[in-house]
Symmetry: C2
Subunit: 349 residues, 2 copies
């Protein structure tokens, strides 16, 4: 797998073609699974981890999953691990972990399987826009295919057994990444969080648990799985997301009605800065891209495809920049390279 | 005189063609004169002011000054007075004063004569770039022509008598408007002020005494005239300005050597904001134009003539915007009109 090649084009799930793609970036469903008869990862020594990785990677190879390749991470560079994290193919935990571990994913990056993260196996399916059922069906299929060659740790009473009690049961987490710039700007986002947390759902930042919300992106996902079926969890997510999408749309409309000049100004200044800056850090880039993304979706900024903006969010991350340049770069050099990359991309549209 | 027409094009002294025009915007020399036998303006009642205005405006008409027209201000609208102030044709004092008063100026606005400001007559000559001798010769010629038909208050001991003691003697003030963005950015501007004040010169903001420095513009002028000849004053200014111009150039070079990316970033972001904002106030406009002006002079921003940038500084002022729109506008509407005007102007270049 050539990550340098990969760094030139993000995954298909960023296409911006799914339902509600103006506000819902992507839907992700993941399943946590563990091999029967092996220690959970936190308790496994190096030898056990090695054996688990061998078993799971062999099972992946045998599962007949189109286009899926396994990438071992124990000897991967820091930069490659950060790159996969930026792409949402692996978690922070897998990126910074130790011992034999890895990730398998297909070319379009809609499917990924982490090995020896917190659990032996973490299967994820990613979809553009709001597609919980489709993502669930996909991850379920991968799960069934893997189960042909490995035995899962399963209790008739509790369901799938996992390293952390919050995942016991279905082992499932369904999460939806939302872009909520107007709710943030109009200071209504806290209300959304309050209503979400009442429904046993959690709000997280862009790169999952413990990460900050940048660029007005928020992930909403279920908190617990014990005692709940896959359909219960999908139902929770399917009930809470559409109203949030409507709130965000309403906030944008209100903003446009009450102070159209300030809304346009916000979007266009962001575009002006991105298309002219000669040095820019990740965080500012995310914030400005957020405003541009809203401007594109509101048709204030014409002629710029949503896909181009979605791509930039990923392509401007530090490891992506460095992979494209073919080397590690100090912060200030990276900020200059990022600005040049953004100008080039925006001038093509 | 049609001020609406005037509002579409600033005076010739902004051409940016004079010596050191990258840093010296303009040179101004003014003479304060009073009619012999009349009360000074502060002590003159309405009738006396009326008589003075009549005498001086008649003298201006008789002086054979090409293209010069007298504009009475006692019945001018607030907007017209603000407009003339923004154009540097009248002072704040004349704009906000009372009673019969006015200003005469020629089409290119290189010459202006205020009537019943602090003194009965204030003659000014404005030149592009650093041209103290030329401005002095010009103002001296106007002075001589006026003196043919009016008698000046003059004391063999003190020289020309003026309403304020600081002007007694030559009645002359020579001032130079400087653009010093790098000295401001590199925090060396205070040092410049200290050395200037040691030389009996004063530093003021863009619109003269008591006004703030916006857009990194500073006026340097002589403080006193008593006991000093016109050539002494011109000599002071001629000695102090060239070193400041060199300091500013050196500061720009240093900035470019030590952190070229930040210098380019400053200039281009300013250009990006100005060419994309949908709402912008005067002050921010000045600050951004200042960075763009430096970028043009350093050839970082090509294809944008210095004249276009100089023009924008004047044309974006509140009264200019409102004169062009043909009506008074509330602040927020003005900010939207300003942004539209700037975008239009920049897109032409």
């Amino acid at each position: 797998m050539d990550l340098g090649e990969l760094s030139r084009q993000p995954g298909e799930w960023l296409a911006g073609t799914g339902p509600e793609a103006d506000i819902v970036i992507s839907t992700r469903v993941r399943l946590a699974r563990n091999l029967a008869g092996s220690s959970f990862v936190p308790n496994a020594d190096a030898g056990e981890r090695h054996a688990i990785a061998a078993t799971v990677s062999a099972a992946i190879g045998a599962a007949g999953l189109a286009d899926v390749e396994y990438l071992p991470l124990e000897n991967a560079t820091r930069l490659d691990r950060l790159f996969l994290l930026e792409r949402h193919l692996i978690s922070k935990e897998l990126a910074t972990g130790e011992g034999d571990r890895g990730v398998a994913f297909n070319r379009g990056e809609a499917r990924a399987i982490m090995v020896n993260e917190e659990d032996h196996i973490r299967i994820q399916a990613l979809r553009s826009g709001f597609q919980p059922e489709e993502a669930w069906r996909d991850v379920d299929e991968v799960d069934s295919r893997l189960e042909r060659s490995v035995g899962y740790a399963f209790s008739p009473e509790f369901g799938y057994l996992t390293a952390c009690p919050t995942n016991v049961g279905t082992g499932m987490r369904a999460s939806v990444m939302l872009h909520l710039p107007a709710l943030v700007a109009l200071k209504q986002i806290e209300k959304v969080f309050q209503s979400v947390s009442k429904m046993r759902l959690a709000v997280r930042g862009l790169y999952g648990e413990g990460t900050q919300a940048h660029g007005d992106f928020y992930q909403i996902s279920n908190q617990h799985t014990l005692g709940r079926s896959e359909q219960d969890i999908l139902g929770d997510v399917s009930r809470v997301v559409p109203p949030i999408v409507r709130y965000e749309r309403r906030a944008r409309e209100l903003w446009a009605e009450q102070d159209r000049a300030s809304l346009e100004d916000r979007c266009w200044r962001a575009y002006g800065m991105l298309s002219h800056a000669r040095r820019i850090n990740s965080e500012e880039t995310m914030d400005l891209l957020s405003a541009v993304r809203m401007g594109v979706n509101l048709r204030l900024i014409p002629d710029l495809p949503l896909r181009a903006v979605n791509d930039l969010f990923i392509m401007c991350q530090p490891a992506h920049l460095q992979k494209r340049e073919g080397q590690e770069l100090p912060d200030d050099v990276r900020d200059v390279a990022r600005a040049a990359f953004i100008r080039d991309r925006l001038s093509r549209n």
